[in-house]
Amino acid sequence: MLVAGPANSGVAPQCCTVLAHGIGTRSDLPVPVGLAAAAAAATLVISFAVLAVLWRSPRRRGTGRPLPAGLAAVLDAAPLRLGLQLLTLAAAVAVVTVGLAGPPDPARNLAPWAFYVTFWVGIVPASLLLGPVWRVLNPLRLLHRAVAAMLRIDPGAGVRELPEKIGYWPAAVSLAVFGWFELAFPARAQPVSVAVFLLAYAGVHLAAATVFGRRWFDRGDGFEVYSVLVGALAPLGRRAGDGRLVLRNPLDGLAAVPLAPGLVGVVVALLGATAYDGLSRTQLWNALVPPGLATGTGGLLLAFVLVGVVFGLGTFTVASTRPSAAGGAGGPVAFAPTLAPIAAGYAIAHYFSLLVFDGQQVGILASDPLGTGADLLGTAGRTIDYTVVGTTTIALVQLGGIVLGHLVAAASAHDQAYRLFPRRVALRTQYPMLAAMVTLTIGAVGLVFAA
C-alpha cells in the first residue's frame, strides 16, 4: 500500500514497502451481510428471469440512433483526436519522467498513482461512458506513426502480416503480465519500477507494431483491448456500415466485438487479476498466506485457472454444439465478450473507492512533481479527503456494479445463444453459461463480503 499524507509531513519517509495486495491507502469495509444477501438473491432472480422472460428468437441487431451531425463532426474531427493524443502522450512522458527523476518515495511521487489509479482504474468509467477511449488516446499509436515514418515502413501494413490465429493472445499476455506486475511484483509501488514497466511495455509494442503494422494495437495492446471490451457496453458506438457515431444498445455493442482466438484469454486475465486483487484483501487470505512474490504469483495463477475453469464449464455445451447461423463463429470465443460486463462490474466493485480517494493523490502530488518544493496547482499541502463518499454509498456502488454487470452479461449471453443456435439448442446452452455467470457473480459478492 502506498502512503497518503501531506507532501511535507516532516517525517523523513523510508523506502516505501508494499503490502500483499495492490496499491492504496485504505481498503473497503466488508459489505453488510444484509446487502450481500440481497445482491446474491438478486443475482439468482435475474438469472431465472433471463431464462424465463427474455426473447426466444434471434433479436434483430439494432443499428443505433445517429448522433446529431454537428456533434458527430466535432467528435470525429481529426485535429481534436490528434490534440487528445498529443496531450495523452505528454502526460505519459511526464509520468515516466517523474517516475525516473522525481522523489523516490512513492508517497511523494505521482507516477505509481497516475498509472495504477488514474489510468488503470480510470479506463473503466471512461470506456463505459464514451466507448473504446484508449484506442483514440493511445500514445503508442502516435509514436508508431513517427517511428514508421522514420524507418520508411508503411504504418498500416508493416513488414509482415500478422497471422489471424495469433488473435488477441498478445493482449491476453500483456494483461496477465500487467496483472502480475500490479499485484505480485514486490517493488510495484516504486516510481522507478513503474517508469521502467511503461518504457518496456512501450518498447515491446512499438517494435511489434513496426513489424506487423498498426493492426497490432487492435489485437495485441492489452490496454486497448480492455478499453474495447468495456467500451462495447457504452451507449456511444460506431455503426457498422459507415462508421457513423450512434447511440446504441450495449447488447449490440457486445455482439459487435470482433472475435478472434485469445479473446477468452483476455477475459480470463481481466477477471482473474481483479478477482485475485479482491481475494488478497480478504481476512482469510491474509491470515493463511504470507505476502511475497511466490505466494502472490501463485495466487494470481490460481485466480486465472479458477476463472478459466468456470468459463470452460460454462461453455462446454457451446463447444460441442455446431452453430447454425451463417457465418456464426461459434464456440466459446463467441461468448467471451458476454463476460465483459462482469469484468466491468468486478472492476467497479474493487476499485471505485480507490479511484475516488486515492485518485485525489495524483492531483495533490502533481503540484510538486519533482520534489523541488514547488506548488504548481496549489494543492501541495492537501491530504486525501476521505469524506467525499460514505461507506454505505461505497457498498451500494460495489454491489450495484456487480449485480448490474451480471444482468447485462446474462442478457448478452442469451442474445448470443439465440443468434448462433436454433431455438431449442440455444436454451440448452444457456444453463451452464448462466451457472458459470452466477458462480462468478456470487464469487464477486463473496469477495467484497469477506474483505
Binding site: 501531506p6 517525517v11 523506502c15 466488508p30 450481500a36 480478504t282 491470515a287 469524506t387
Partner: protein, 126 residues
C-alpha cells in the same frame, strides 16, 4: 429428478450458494475488539519480536469517532506507520512507542513496520 435441465441448474446453483455462504460465514478470523479504558480510549497492544508480531496480524475493530491508542513494543528499531491516517512514530529496539489518534475515517487500514514491510495489524473503522 435431475433429467430436466432446469432442475439441474437449480440444483447446481443451490449447491453453489450454500458452498459460498459457508465460505463467507467462515470468512476468516473474527475481528478483535480492543480493550476500552475508563476515558473511552480503545487501546491496541502489539508486540513485535523475532521478525513477526506475536499472535499474527489481527484485525482490530473500532467504531468511527473512537479515540484509539496503538502501543507497539518492538525488539528492533523501525518506524510504526498507520496507513490512511498517515500516523507514524519511530520505535527503538527494546522500547515501545504509541500512536494516538481519533478514528474518524471509516475503512480498513494497515499498521506496519515501515522499513521491514512487516504487517503488524489491521484497523477496521466502521
Amino acid at each position: 429428478m435431475f433429467r430436466r435441465p432446469e432442475s439441474r441448474l437449480a440444483g447446481l446453483v443451490a449447491a453453489l450458494v450454500l458452498a459460498l455462504a459457508g465460505c463467507a460465514a467462515a470468512a476468516g478470523p473474527a475481528t478483535v475488539a480492543p480493550a476500552v479504558a475508563a476515558d473511552g480510549t480503545h487501546r491496541i497492544d502489539l508486540a513485535f519480536a523475532d521478525g513477526a508480531v506475536s499472535g499474527g496480524p489481527a484485525r482490530y475493530a473500532v467504531a468511527v469517532g473512537s479515540p484509539v491508542e496503538v502501543v507497539v513494543a518492538s525488539d528492533v528499531a523501525d518506524e510504526v506507520h498507520l496507513h490512511g491516517y498517515d500516523r507514524s512514530s519511530f520505535v527503538t529496539a527494546g522500547a515501545t512507542t504509541t500512536l494516538r489518534f481519533v478514528a474518524d475515517v471509516p475503512g480498513v487500514f494497515e499498521i506496519e513496520l515501515e522499513q521491514r514491510g512487516a504487517r503488524l495489524a489491521q484497523l477496521e473503522v466502521s
